[in-house]
Amino acid sequence: MPAMPLVRIPAPYRGPTRGAERVEVEGSTVRGCVQAVADAFPGFGEQVFDAVGDVHRFVTLFVNGVEIDRDAIDEPIEASDEVEVLAAIAGG
């Protein structure tokens, strides 16, 4: 079976994914992968993108462990890549 990008979901965002921590998706860009997760799990997309389709300020995106610039979410990625969505999850 051909490799598919993996999207890692942070704990605060696992409500829409019903607890799923990682989701394999079809996607050729970071935006495409996140959208694929959103299509499979309604409610997830709003946690990453704002109303105009930009990444929320409080979300950080990584590809293979390296933080990417939010302008780079439409750049092509490899089928074997891992996309991670990160968000600050604590506050005192």
Binding site: A11, P12, R14, P16, F58, A88, A90, G92
Partner: protein, 576 residues
């Protein structure tokens, strides 16, 4: 090299106003902060005592790693029997007193007794030579900032202070203990806030404690080279990582709102229409025009999550304006502007109040019709009444439950008498299990789980593991916002004392801390009947999913049954 040794305890008897310095037991060397406070209280405090009477014991204990070159490791635990919950309490703060006490080799200050004349005020001065008690009549009633400015004239510029404001002197159960931060201004902006320990300090007539380190140096680990290398590697990895809190916890506001845990109008809703004007991003944006910045609250911190906030004229207003404060004094009271919340934060720091408990109390007051929701000026006037000791002020200053009782109001979101923090137990049910079972009552820093997708059968384990990790973190001196894991902490301990600390040992340290605290509470008369979520959280639904806290008592009780150790326990990050 043997590692730190010859540590001591400072025992202050406030009945006699005398001090004794005793040896710190060698077999307690891996006890610090919260675990040390718990052990001292279990062994030396009558759990059935009156919290504001002479038999309560007030503990000030830095962490195991404090006073060393480890990054972000100077947290201090203030402990005692809480007049708010009736059980054991540990409140944790940053600033420099923890670092300074440990540099002098003092593992804890233990304050007992009570002066015969409750009108007198005293101070304890700690130096390398020892400690002494003196009467400080000129400090009576002083607000915290004015107090520190006054003390700066007679102490060295490097001295650090632990103090109470008028709320603590009035022995109000919503009062906090202030610690000065690491900046040259030594602002009393770091508060061991939860549980009313300011009242315990006030009941002992103790207005402040000073620490002068003189020429004391950082503590020398047994494996010095390895310890320093570990700190460097850790710092490098941290700085190359996402640095989640580099703009402060206040920037968590929009995410929390999105998750329906930004409570509005006494928790009647989980989202606030004022999310934009309460977002910490507005604070960060203000830096460009007004000045202000992010800074570290304690010497050696690499996280720098604390903000210095200026007013429109460019003058200092407050610092450490955090997510919980923006929530409880902002959204929960329907106060829309972060600038008004900054004013309230400053007032709380000055008067010596827990912003969470005070915000919850004001919201209950508003909800009961005492004043309009959103009345920021009214809220500021209320805080000033607390300092003046009016009947209304004393009610608010005694917290949410006291306010609800006096007002005959039923919607009081609290567990074990302590107001629920911003992180709401309805969408975050595993965190609700922590609120029910933690020895501390409703305290998110005791074990925060932000995982709305977690299945119910995992709530108890998630809460227990988070409680254990955070108990170890709060015993170590590391800040929860550094987010160390148990593996990180035991590695530093190992280099500190030159002996390996196994996974089993570090897990046992955390579990024993919880056991000590649960035992204290049992002796204090708390039972499973106290492990109950506030009624309003079980009944009032919020969010598009209309969630309530509906976790059964059986599942809640499972958090007390020790789970088998698994890898995730040791790699999970402390978080609070």
């Amino acid at each position: 090299m043997p590692g730190p040794s010859g540590d001591r305890l400072i025992r202050v008897d406030m009945t006699q106003q005398s001090v004794e310095i005793t040896a710190f037991p060698d077999d307690w060397k891996l006890l610090g902060g919260r675990a040390l406070s718990a052990r001292i209280l279990l062994e030396e405090c009558d759990a059935g005592c009156e919290p504001l009477g002479p038999d309560n014991v007030l503990v000030m204990a830095p962490g195991v790693i404090s006073g060393t070159a480890a990054p972000t490791s100077g947290r201090i635990s203030i402990g005692g029997k809480s007049p708010l919950t009736g059980g054991i309490k540990e409140a944790n703060a940053g600033g420099d007193p923890g670092q300074d006490l440990m540099k002098l080799g003092y593992r804890a200050v233990i304050v007992t007794g009570q002066p015969a004349d409750s009108d007198k005020r005293y101070a304890v001065d700690v130096t390398a030579e020892g400690a002494s008690v003196k009467e400080v009549p000129d400090c009576k009633g002083m607000w915290n900032y004015a107090l520190i400015e006054h003390l700066a004239k007679s102490y060295s510029k490097d001295a650090s202070f632990v103090s109470i404001g008028p709320a603590g002197e009035l022995q109000l159960t919503g009062s906090s203990v202030a610690c000065t931060d690491g900046d040259k201004e030594r602002r009393p902006a770091r508060h061991a806030a939860r549980g009313g320990l300011g009242a315990v300090m006030g009941s002992k007539g103790l207005k402040y404690l000073s620490v002068e380190t003189g020429k004391a140096r950082l503590r020398d680990p047994a494996n010095r080279k390895e310890f320093l290398a570990r700190g460097k590697t850790y710092t490098k990895a941290y700085r190359e990582g996402p640095q989640m809190f580099k703009h402060g916890t206040s920037t968590v506001v929009p995410m929390a709102n999105m998750l329906n845990t930004f409570p509005y109008k006494n928790r009647t809703e989980g989202q606030s229409p004022d999310v934009e004007t309460l977002d910490g991003a507005r604070i960060v944006e203000s830096f460009e025009e007004r000045g202000g910045e992010m800074h570290n609250c304690m010497t050696g911190c690499i996280v720098q999550c604390s903000n210095i906030v200026h007013d429109a004229e460019g003058n200092y207003k407050t610092s450490a304006l955090e997510f919980e404060t923006l929530t409880l004094l902002g959204a929960n009271c329907a106060i829309a502007s972060w600038e008004d919340v900054a004013d309230l934060d400053r007032l709380c720091d000055e008067i010596g109040l827990d912003t969470v408990e005070t915000g919850a109390a004001i919201a209950v007051y508003m909800d009961s019709g005492g004043m309009e929701f959103g009345d920021a000026e009214g809220a500021k006037a209320l805080l000033k009444e607390i300092a003046e000791g009016t009947e209304l002020g004393k009610m608010i200053g005694s917290g949410a439950v006291a306010t609800g009782k006096k007002r005959g109001h039923k919607r009081v979101p609290a567990v074990k008498g302590q107001a629920i923090p911003a992180w709401d137990p309805r969408p975050l049910k595993a965190t609700g299990v922590t609120y029910c079972t933690s020895p501390m009552g409703a305290d998110h820093t005791a074990g925060l789980i932000v995982n709305p997708g977690l299945p119910e059968e995992e709530f108890a384990r998630a809460s227990q593991e988070s409680q254990l990790v955070n108990a170890v973190c709060d015993s170590s001196g590391f800040c929860q916002f550094l987010q160390p894991s148990l593996d990180d902490i035991r590695a530093f301990y190992g280099d500190l004392y030159g002996e390996e600390v196994s996974r089993q040992q570090i897990a046992d340290l955390g579990w024993q801390c919880l056991q000590d605290e649960w035992e204290f509470n049992r002796r204090a008369g708390l039972t499973s009947a106290d492990d109950v979520m506030a009624d309003c959280m079980q009944v009032d639904a919020i969010g598009p999913q209309q969630v309530v806290f509906d976790v059964s008592a059986e599942i809640v009780a499972q958090a007390y049954e020790r789970c088998e150790l698994r890898d995730e326990l040791f790699t999970a990050n402390a978080t609070g």
